[in-house]
């Protein structure tokens, strides 16, 4: 295994790890809100969160790239306030990956919370427990299966992400070059041995994750 191969896998793992971690922390309050709120415009928020599931990643990638441009307010703000240019950087790819993976984290968490009997939350309240204590001591531990599925799906989706990374990050070794892009690149260069190495890693990663998900589903049914 050469250093490029290792470097690409490290970048892929780093992107998947940070996307999953950040999305988990962001996803918990969003999923809680969507599961219990009776907010009138909830359907619009749900539709927006689910958009990456149906939209071609290139469409999303294009709009994100436009937003990152210093000619637009977001790109301008990032440059003036933080001295950061997001296009074709790891940070830019990370933000794009978070947006693209939103539904994979939020939907299982939301469904898990919504499937719990409301009496669990209510019982905790009548025992004098706050919303926060109820969330961490009663609700979260009882949707462990949904949490594992959400984390595994998000991680697996990130590992296999192609279109949006290519649009927003390009193919810069050590920075934005992830396994799926490297695989495409090696095929274009007719370097099938290297391509096979990447393909095998992606295949095994997806297989392991899906096996975990189905084992959990079987246990919870």
């Amino acid at each position: 295994m050469n250093s490029d191969f290792i470097q690409t896998l490290v970048t892929t793992g780093k992107l998947a790890f940070w996307t999953t971690l950040i999305l988990f922390l962001l996803g918990l309050p969003i999923a809680y809100f969507l599961a219990y709120s009776r907010f009138r415009l909830k359907a619009i928020i749900e539709a927006l969160i689910s958009m990456p599931m149906v939209l071609p990643p290139t469409v999303l990638g294009f709009y994100i790239l436009v937003a990152y441009s210093p000619q637009n307010w977001f790109g301008q703000m990032m440059e003036q306030w933080f001295d950061v240019r997001l296009a074709f950087s790891f940070g830019g790819v990370l933000i794009a990956s978070i947006i693209c993976s939103l539904p994979f984290m939020i939907q299982p968490l939301q469904n898990g919370l919504a499937s719990l009997p409301s009496s669990l939350k209510e019982a905790s309240y009548t025992m004098g427990k706050s919303s926060l204590t109820t969330f961490f001591r009663v609700l979260l531990p009882n949707i462990r299966g949904s949490i594992i599925i959400a984390v595994a799906m998000t991680f697996a989706h990130c590992v296999g992400e192609f279109g949006i990374v290519l649009m927003v990050g390009g193919n810069m070794p050590g920075t934005t070059r992830v396994a799926s892009i490297a695989l495409y690149d090696e095929v274009q260069a007719l370097n099938y041995k290297a391509a096979n190495q990447y393909a095998l890693v992606l295949f095994l990663a997806s297989f392991v994750v899906l096996t975990i998900i189905y084992s959990i589903n079987k246990k919870t049914v």
Partner: protein, 225 residues
């Protein structure tokens, strides 16, 4: 033993359309009230209003000298601020916690001695480390009851707690509920569909029909007196 004064209104959606639930009643401290009536008559909604889980559109709820709800003065204590124990129809035991942990969680201040005492009262020492999923219906009911006692509430609210239990176990658990009521020196309100159960347990039976109290019956209910 706090008395309860309740005069509340709330819209209900029933199979016959929208109806107004209007309950006005004074309950003496230490009473064991059984609420009876058809499904959808407003019994559970009344318990939920008392516990603060649903809000009346107008009215007043007073427990002892404490105002829990007053629509005119815009007072509405959260469920967390009301000294109640609510026993749900499905028992609402926390699946992630053992029997012992379920009881401990309900305590305002941690008191291991009291947890042990409650486990002893309900004969559950051997089940202390079991998760609710491994328990029978009767055992779950006893855990829910022990948990209800753990916070020493002023008001005990029981929503059809015996509906899913066989006849023999039911009679035993009726006694346990009455023992719990006396142990707490609480004022209790229980929803039931079983008139004989209501007569056996209650100091007063309140019949609700279409959102209104249609009948008070104190004549035959004397188990606790």
């Amino acid at each position: 033993m706090p008395s309860i004064y309740i005069d509340v209104k709330r819209k209900m959606t029933t199979s016959e359309g929208e109806k107004m639930l209007h309950i006005e009643k004074e309950i003496s401290g230490g009473d064991f009230i059984c609420l009876v009536g058809h499904s959808g008559s407003g019994k559970t909604t009344l318990l939920r209003m008392l516990s603060g889980l649903v809000t009346p559109i107008e009215g007043i709820i007073k427990v002892g000298d404490e105002v829990w709800f007053d629509s005119q003065r815009k007072i509405n204590l959260k469920p967390q601020q009301r000294s109640i124990a609510y026993m749900f129809q499905d028992f609402a035991l926390f699946p992630n916690m053992s029997v012992e942990e379920n009881i401990r969680f309900a305590q305002k201040e941690k008191d291991k001695t009291k947890v042990n005492e409650l486990l002893g009262i309900f004969g559950m020492h051997k089940l202390a480390k079991q998760k609710p999923a491994k328990l029978s219906g009767g055992q779950k009911q006893r855990v829910a009851l022990a948990r209800a006692l753990a916070s020493s509430p002023k008001i005990l609210l029981l929503d059809e707690p015996l509906s899913s239990i066989d006849h023999e176990m039911r009679e035993r658990l009726q006694c346990e509920i009455l023992r719990a009521h006396e142990y707490l020196a609480a004022t209790s309100i229980m929803v039931t569909h079983d008139m004989s159960e209501a007569h056996r347990m209650a100091t007063e039976i309140i019949k609700i029909k279409n959102g209104l109290i249609v009948e008070n019956d104190e004549s035959n209910c004397s188990c606790l007196r």
